[in-house]
């Protein structure tokens, strides 16, 4: 595999590098930006921010609720035992169990979606540089070499590196 990337000290430069790559005709999807913090206020960080994680959470909640309802009512009916003169299927207490399982469903679904959509866990891919942890921002492109060095170098102070 081959790839080219630049390491930039500050976000402005990184932003320029991203713009440069776009100008050089690289598709947004191919541009990869890695950083040790989310630079929310910079445009580059907003690429592929669309997500359906909220919907998944909701769905999880619904599943939790449903299973809780079944768990309580079915088990109570499967062996009807009288206690304290309460109805065999006692709605009020069951609501508590349903609430808890709804929340649990939502939380688990959220985390599951996070891992799936963020492709975690996985082994560390080739296109990465420990310098990211030292605060550098990595802007890179994978794939067959097109001449992007300029685009990355023109961005400003930074180091451009190649893989393969």
């Amino acid at each position: 595999m081959t790839a080219i990337y630049g390491l930039y000290d500050n976000p402005e430069t990184a932003q320029r590098a991203v713009d440069g790559l776009r100008a050089a005709g690289v598709a947004d999807a191919d541009i990869q930006v890695m950083s040790s913090e989310p630079f929310e206020e910079y445009e580059f960080s907003h690429k592929d921010s669309a997500t359906w994680i909220h919907w998944m959470a909701g769905l999880g909640g619904v599943v939790g609720l449903g299973s809780a309802y079944l768990l309580t009512t079915l088990t109570q009916q499967s062996w009807p035992i009288k206690t304290s003169g309460m109805p065999i299927v006692a709605p009020w207490p069951n609501l508590i169990v349903m609430f808890e399982m709804t929340m649990l469903g939502a939380i688990l679904a959220t985390v599951l979606t996070l891992f799936v959509s963020a492709r975690l866990p996985k082994r560390l891919p080739a296109l990465y540089d420990p310098e990211v942890s030292n605060g550098y921002i990595l802007v890179g492109v994978q794939g067959p070499d097109r001449n992007l060095t300029a685009a990355l170098e023109n961005a400003g102070e930074g180091r451009v590196k190649r893989i393969g």
């Binding site: 035992i81 009288k82 206690t83 304290s84 003169g85 309460m86 006692a90 207490p93």
Partner: protein, 235 residues
């Protein structure tokens, strides 16, 4: 028609002699815990005779009140049990399933009458006292709750006998140990669904009251209040 077992205690003739207490111990294999444990408040009396003083010397009276499990229709102890160890049977008994009990002691807290007892240790019968144990009643191990069962073993035996003789149960066929031994016949046990039974009739006596009625527990034990002469010159 299903049975609905209930009890009536006539406080007017109860003399507080506590024959019922020992009878209960003998019938139900209730262990004696000894002085040290008794001092820690762990004495087990499924049936106790409560004593309350009224007035002061010399015009003083005493109220005796035998209190055992009230076998409530809405027993607070049942719902709180996580394992159904405590539940209501079809015959209206408040049953305690010893081998389902995991010893949360929650039922005991929920019971307003404090008639539930806990096995803080494994029960001890210094040999050969264990020879007295009633084979019809299981001995409870450490960590489980126990309480008055209305002598369920006698109820079973009574029904089996009636079945064997192929006849209906008669009122009085079944006597819990306390009712049988009570010298003054102040404890009356019977089927509340059988309107002819003495228990059923006394349950509706004008003297009849329930213990902690306002708790809404709907007990199946009725107490017939004590009557008295009015003493003009007692203050």
């Amino acid at each position: 028609m299903a049975h609905r077992w209930g009890m009536v205690v006539d406080l007017d003739s109860c003399t507080g002699c506590e024959a019922c207490v020992t009878a209960c111990h003998a019938e139900n294999n209730i262990p004696t815990v000894g002085p040290t444990e008794a001092a820690r408040g762990r004495a087990m009396h499924w049936l106790r005779v409560e004593r309350y003083w009224e007035g002061d010397f010399p015009d003083v009276k005493v109220k005796f009140k035998p209190v055992m499990c009230q076998h409530c229709d809405n027993a607070p102890c049942e719902a709180v049990c996580p394992t159904y160890a405590s539940h209501q049977t079809d015959e209206g008994l408040n049953a305690q399933v010893y081998n389902r009990c995991i010893g949360t002691r929650y039922c005991a807290n929920a019971c307003s009458y404090n008639v539930r007892f806990f096995n803080f240790f494994n029960p001890q019968w210094e040999k050969p006292l264990q020879l007295q144990l009633n084979p019809d009643v299981s001995v409870r191990e450490v960590g489980v709750m126990e309480k008055c069962t209305f002598c369920v073993q006698r109820i079973k035996a009574g029904k089996t006998a009636a079945k064997a003789e192929d006849r209906e149960l008669k009122d009085g066929d079944i006597q819990p140990a306390c009712a049988q031994s009570c010298p003054t016949g102040s404890i009356i046990f019977g089927d509340l669904n059988d309107h002819e039974s003495r228990a059923a009739r006394f349950t509706h006596s004008p003297r009849g009251t329930k213990l902690l009625e306002d708790e809404g527990t709907a007990p199946k034990v009725t107490y017939l209040q004590r009557q008295s002469w009015n003493e003009p010159d007692t203050q």
